[in-house]
Symmetry: C2
Subunit: 462 residues, 2 copies
Amino acid sequence: MMNEPKQMHLQEKIFLLLRQQILDGALSSGTRLLPSRVMAEELGVSRNTVLVAVERLVAEGYVVAKTGSGCYVNDNVALGTNATASLGAIAPTGFMPYRSDIVDFKSGLPDLSVFPVKRFGQLYRDVMDHITPAELGYGAPEGHIELRREIATYLQTYRGVRCDPASILITSGTTQAIGIAGSALFEGQSHPLAVIENPITVDIRRILQKLGAEIYPVPTDQWGLCTSALPSHKAPRCIYVTPSHQYPLGAILSAKRRVKLIEYAQKSNCYIVEDDYDSEYRFDGHPISAVQGLCPKRVIYIGTFSKTLSPALRIGYLVLPPSLIAGARQMKWLTDLHNSVFDQLVLARFIRGGHYYRHLMKMKKRYRSKRDFLLACLQQHMGERAKIIGENAGLHLCVQFPGVVFSKNLLDNLEQAGVRVYPVWEHAGTDTSFDDTIILGFGMLSPEKIDKGIGILKQILL
Amino acid sequence: MMNEPKQMHLQEKIFLLLRQQILDGALSSGTRLLPSRVMAEELGVSRNTVLVAVERLVAEGYVVAKTGSGCYVNDNVALGTNATASLGAIAPTGFMPYRSDIVDFKSGLPDLSVFPVKRFGQLYRDVMDHITPAELGYGAPEGHIELRREIATYLQTYRGVRCDPASILITSGTTQAIGIAGSALFEGQSHPLAVIENPITVDIRRILQKLGAEIYPVPTDQWGLCTSALPSHKAPRCIYVTPSHQYPLGAILSAKRRVKLIEYAQKSNCYIVEDDYDSEYRFDGHPISAVQGLCPKRVIYIGTFSKTLSPALRIGYLVLPPSLIAGARQMKWLTDLHNSVFDQLVLARFIRGGHYYRHLMKMKKRYRSKRDFLLACLQQHMGERAKIIGENAGLHLCVQFPGVVFSKNLLDNLEQAGVRVYPVWEHAGTDTSFDDTIILGFGMLSPEKIDKGIGILKQILL
């Protein structure tokens, strides 16, 4: 029935019209349809159009054709009730898109104005030119070997991660990586305990809860997760940490605590989930190597391209200890089989060609100067009133304003004045000790916008 | 530290070497490191390379620099145990890739040799040339509006689905669509009952079970799901059906049973999940309209591009009743936020340009002639011994060989002889009544391969 859409439309309309009358009971069981010639005249269409529509009613069993006598409405094909009433109003959802019309300090967004669109366009065309029928079919849940190879090389060289392509599983970003790691970890466990940092991205808490974990928040300070506060009453199944750049407070987990964390995990026979979401950008000195490199058997490592390239790509990955590889692959298979092969191949070739490394270098310079500019603006406008936290790395920093409470009301006022900032309390559960602290993402913002935003912030707050 | 990879490598090696010695305790707490000049000579590298490595050890807290005195190993940074032992062997997984070296009758694969690679390559480049920074950021969980618009138009015109872009949610294929629909349906329900057809794709059963549903299989016959066998003791939460082309047996749900199904769903206040996976290919007459069009409030409709274009694309969708839209968006967000924006935009433009409709027309002709050829081969080689089932639609048909049992042993023998076929019992749970029936997918196979495969089948079976 692959006619052109326009012709289709007319036959379809007639078919739908008649079917509706049958379903509603307007054309009741046993009723003879008008002869096709008459119906065609009445509707002002060709007889052929009517014949196709009626043929379809016959094919679907709404109508029975009796040779030499015509077409009759079948028995028991009317609906008793109001089933076909029109759709109700659509409920709105709560996902806030980035606002480019004001100064939006949303964190975790890279500078998308310099995403290498041309290079990606070329690579997509190259990939499509040379893709094989086998690659166009169903792939492996762990992801395409080309991409896993490139990620393994990158992680070994730049992040001190001990891995090979077989320990990597490609995911649709960090969110899915957490879901898959959590499903593999919690399978068959009753009431598993999951330690998280406090504060921590609110969605991470939600995802782990949805997977059935009991949440145990542990405080963080300027050296990261307070390992002395890890639970002693019950062994957790996993400890979720952001050691390279704690989200949102920005601490870097100290070497001593790294060792303590691993020792704790070994003693209590649990896993460390290391979320290394924007570790590529450390501005003061060398990037900190991953905890995974210290103890690959105990650490599930999560990485993403959302902060280095674009969240629109939806590619992240897990580095798994051998004990969890089979389980995680099974979970990925039952979640969505595998990632888009086209995107995986393009990204693999982008890395292999050296473009990724060059992009990282370029972006690091760019973010450093944005950060420096933001720090200068804060110093100039706020002086001693603003206490800066976690400014050594990443795409955001935090600012504490002692005495201020960032209530919903205040946040709304700020947004109306033209600046959107994000409160830490959103990520702190019931803990109110961060009510005076906000997160300022600067990856997407120009110096002009940063200056304007901090200016507005000063007017409202001080 | 975005140096060139080669230079990086040397510094990295020295850093890792020293760190390993510290972690192992070979360089114990308080030990003074060799002066950088000495170490450089010993290792045969430049002094600068050593300095960078040592600086990094200091930055990460493994080593403390004392002015004028040198660098010392820090306290409490050694690991007591064997934590860094090498990774064990990787467990293999059970996902069978398509075998192109033999005749593989895997079902559900389109003919990937004619996938429009050139057109997709062009479209990807066009999309990348014109993409906006906003589109490169985080998107909406329901998917890009351009693609949802195109899908709505397609479904209204070709499938009789009553929807608008707001009722559509883009997913990463059917697998994820089931997971999201199931999560939204089962949330807050204790021991929800899910009716499935028997037989049904084994993974669908697994996914629904993983989501906590109790499974209630209902038999199918030549008119599809036996609506008279729907449960009366307890209202199910959902009924999972493949009405356009039952998988694997190929029946088309009759009009009478469609009405019965909807009446049952209304009476028992449950939802119908309509999996419309390869409805585009009906060879004898008009395609059957979707059940959704009869009762949009009670039906969750699932569609996919895996059978019409390529599974490598990983795009499918849900059409949701208003009551489930918000819940399903929330589930998508917590699963993987949203699909790749690049793939969504390319697919939207592929449909809008009319290419999708032309591709469907072309493929339908192609599959019809493959099916006809397969039927002719079966008739020629097997005659009365083979009973054909479900040949009117889709990318596969079933063949029953009364008296034959397709044991694992027999399947292995067939594969060794050069033909892989798929048993229905794999999808039938504990029901043994399909032990004599196999699934033959023909989408990917050339006439030569089909002929060869049926020839081998005859040799082994008859």
